[in-house]
Symmetry: C2
């Protein structure tokens, strides 16, 4: 028998309790042990909840209960969750968590103090078993690249915008549907995706980076002109979390990205998530499914509990021993080298295009394709470039923004692949 | 240190040796142990091979070597491989195999005698970690349905046929490209996919079925008319391995299938594989990647070796204890209930359509859509039906084939979803 305590009996916590009960026989057979939820921690004991387990507001009742084998942290947040998980580890409990924010900041500290199994499948891409895929299924590979659609809200908004709908309108709808929070910044600003990317990156590259170390841009500036450009040139616009290794340098970035619509990950629409991984031995594999929702997330949480009940002890971030080869270095955003799409609104005057083209050329940026769209009273110039350095692109943009015929600001989207 | 012996140093075996060497530092860090290939078994010692391990023709030198921890079976075939693996298990070796044929016939016997870890990730869908996904990642779920594109040769042929190319021509090309064997029956006839489907089904449903127990149809009868029909009605034609549970009845079948092109798995083209799984807790997840090739397959084989080196002992077919709930029953093919597409070539006479429609109606088959295509000298009638029983469809077909205006045989394709 395995006894668990759940710290946080909200959306995910309730789903975990419910599904452990619903699939009890099957889970016992697969785990080899009966899994019993002994108790749960909540903030508000008066809230009506459809569970009949012992509830408390004091997490130490669980983290220090000698009968409990696994502490399942589903409360969210960083600091309190960190205290809870540390206390659980200190008291030799195995830990399961779905908390990407916690791991984005503290995964390496937690790894260093964990002497018990520590699983966190649900922290990235909800129901998709991407942690196990990367940590176990692809363990033979040097990971060359990860590209993830790991925020369902953003993918939903971008998918709806393809139908010609406005960003603000779709965001409002996403909030009504429960896909987006009342304050959507965390999702649409790319921060949630960044947390998940950092978790994937540490399994791939054993790299300890924090959200503030990496490039994070959201989808707030994408408009219908960009969507039309994408369609016209055979691209999709997706908010991607990207991790790449080139030599011993790592790129980690989250931003809206133009990707060729022939790529498998470009075909992932709506709230669904997907992660494409390129390994040096296997090539590209991709993992697709629901990235959120109580039940989908509970599926991942319970799989972690079963893994621990089976007696398996996985290396938390995928490394049983330190990797002794060359140290990797995180690139700054200035050093990113990729293709770019630029959207420049100008007042139509003679010589405008020439001046812009000259400024690009002077900054080592060569143009791949060009489209001109007339608008009421002004003109939109849409460029895509060949591979260029981010530093050069930013310099060119600020120079072009200084021309009096340019209506600021200039927007750009990075192009991948 | 973990010492392995490889029985079969061919395409996959050589890739395993090569990549263990190439990624040695990384693999040591991930596994926590150095992995050493001690020796290999081949048929022909005189063949030139690019490895410097001890080679022998006597597998017992490996299965009974007290220094060897893991026997990696990569020789293929059923009977000899069965002897080798049994001997390895008897001598307390852990086993890793990529051999789907072996497992399609003997997975339950092997499970019953294995007291050591037994891994077989590479046996289904090559480099995609689908065994681990199903066995570990989705372990909380009752599996409602599996749909797999698990034969790259067939998917390549069907993808090329969408360009208007002829079956025979594309098959020949696939043979030249090394995607298809000289005798392609095993692939295009659906048998290879059936082996893989049976492996997935035992993890999902703990069901011991053999290839001869299930419906297996290949892609040999698909022609360009079918491809055109599919396009016109928004379908793709894919060879799918399908496993479904409805109540306590299981359907297992491999056949060309019409699926809506909006489904994620319909978008998988070329030699790539993909498996879509529907779980009662998580919903649909899908796994995509290369289904064959020495390196892709070696990625899976090495991940199994690492899993064992890490000290994990997974339940071979996903169940640590027997599942005590209701026994499942395998449906016969007559009992399949799905939608059908019928292709009927007729000599154009008055009343032809009426007679066919009457025969369908008499057999409880109602028509969903209908298309008539004139050909040189005859007419093709293409029907899709609402959900019908396979038994009824077969009876209707044989009755319609008896009409003198029908050019035999009538072809049909099952429609999924
Ligand atoms: N929801 C999803 O789709 C999803 C998907 C992937 C990952 N996750 C992650 O899963 C975790 C839980 O998410 P959720 O959606 O289930 O959140 P939720 O519905 O807000 O539930 C949080 C639970 O934790 C309790 N809690 C919060 N702070 C507490 C404290 N200081 N002391 C005691 N109890 C406290 C709450 O108690 P009260 O009920 O009394 O307020 C509530 O029961 C988060 O880390 C989230 O990022 C969620
Ligand atoms: N190739 C793929 O893409 C792929 C993908 C997934 C799974 N698999 C599976 O992996 C396994 C190996 O496939 P493969 O493509 O590597 O086959 P292969 O190239 O034909 O290699 C087979 C190896 O086994 C040896 N062998 C065969 N029978 C033997 C016997 N009776 N005694 C001793 N040695 C014997 C052969 O020796 P000689 O070299 O001396 O002839 C050869 O080294 C098969 O089960 C296959 O289904 C392959």
């Amino acid at each position: 028998m395995v006894k668990i305590g759940i710290v946080g009996v909200g959306t995910v916590g309730l789903s975990v309790v419910k599904n452990l009960q619903k699939n009890r026989d099957l889970i016992r057979a697969r785990a080899g042990k009966e899994i019993i939820v002994k108790s749960g921690v909540v903030r508000n004991l008066n809230k009506k909840r459809d569970v009949n387990i012992h509830l408390t507001t004091d997490y130490k009742e669980i983290t220090r209960d000698p009968e409990i084998d696994i502490v399942v942290e589903l409360m969210g947040g960083v600091d309190e969750a960190y205290e809870v998980v540390k206390d659980a580890l200190k008291h030799n409990k195995a830990v399961v968590t779905a908390n990407k924010a916690l791991l984005a900041y503290h995964r390496f500290e937690l790894q260093s103090i964990a002497n018990t199994p520590f699983e966190y499948e649900a922290s990235v891409a909800g129901g998709i078993p991407i942690i196990k895929a990367l940590r176990d299924g692809l363990s033979a590979n040097h990971i060359q690249e990860i590209k993830g659609i790991i925020n369902g809200t953003c993918n939903y908004i971008l998918t709806e915008m393809k139908k010609g709908r406005d960003y603000a309108e779709v965001l409002k709808e996403a909030q009504e549907l429960g896909y987006a929070e009342a304050d959507p910044t965390f999702d649409v600003g790319g921060f949630d995706a960044a947390h998940k990317l950092l978790i994937l990156a540490s399994i791939a590259y054993n790299i300890d980076a924090k959200p503030e170390d990496i490039l994070i841009e959201g989808i707030e500036n994408i408009n219908l002109t960009d969507i039309e450009f994408a369609k016209e040139f055979g691209y999709e616009i997706k908010l991607l979390g990207i991790a790449k290794k080139i030599g011993n340098e790592i790129e980690l970035r989250v931003h809206p990205t133009l990707i060729k619509n022939s790529q498998m990950i470009a075909k992932v629409d709506g709230v669904m998530n997907a992660v494409s991984v390129i390994g040096d031995v296997v090539g590209e594999t991709m993992y697709y499914g629901p990235g959120a929702g109580g039940d989908a997330t509970a599926s991942a949480v319970i799989s972690d509990i079963i893994e621990i009940a089976r007696g398996n002890v996985n290396p938390m971030l995928g490394y049983k021993k330190p990797l002794e080869s060359e140290k990797v270095r995180l690139k700054t955003s200035d050093e990113i080298e990729t293709k770019y799409y630029l959207r420049i609104a100008v007042n139509d005057k003679l010589g405008v295009l020439e001046k812009i083209a000259n400024t690009l050329a002077k900054n080592n940026i060569s143009i791949e394709s060009f489209l001109q769209k007339p608008k009421n009273g002004y003109v939109k110039l849409l460029f895509s470039t060949h591979k260029s350095l981010e530093k050069d692109v930013k310099k060119a943009i600020s120079e072009i923004e200084n021309f009096d015929f340019v209506i600021k600001p200039i927007n750009f989207i990075r192009i991948e692949g």
